[in-house]
Homo-oligomer: 101 residues x 2
Amino acid sequence: MPQPRLTDDQRRAALAELPQWTMAEGREALQRRFTFRNFNEAFGFMARAALTAEKMDHHPEWSNVYKTVDVVLATHDAGGLTELDLKLARAMDRIAATMGA
Amino acid sequence: MPQPRLTDDQRRAALAELPQWTMAEGREALQRRFTFRNFNEAFGFMARAALTAEKMDHHPEWSNVYKTVDVVLATHDAGGLTELDLKLARAMDRIAATMGA
């Protein structure tokens, strides 16, 4: 069953609840930059987040340059944000928090 | 000891030897897109390449969207391409080849 797209109110509430995420420029998507101490930690975060994403069958768009990981979350099938994106954003925040980022 | 930047001749020879890589737009860097069957394979490739990169202490700039991995290689300290980039490009090609990409 496809996820329903968030309403404007739901999107606003989600942004309030996820203070480190912002709306991506020019599209309905969430973005956050995670900064770690080095590549080992940055890729360690990616490995943990990848396992979570695969389990959810919902995957990030992300890029990595040394200790930085830039993440964009959106639900392509829904043409915007859904509860899946919020769930993955929260999970990534939790993983990063255990790693001091 | 910093790596010396490749000469024009060395760069041309490298591109001939690495037919799936091209020069990035507007900068002295190599780029290649790797396409796999799914996220599991794409991230598996990234995990193997990350171990190689960490061992070399030379890291890619890369992004991943589901089954696609876009890689850019350059040596920041040298302001362009060095032998390290060629070594990492060859290693990534070898890893991808074992995964059917």
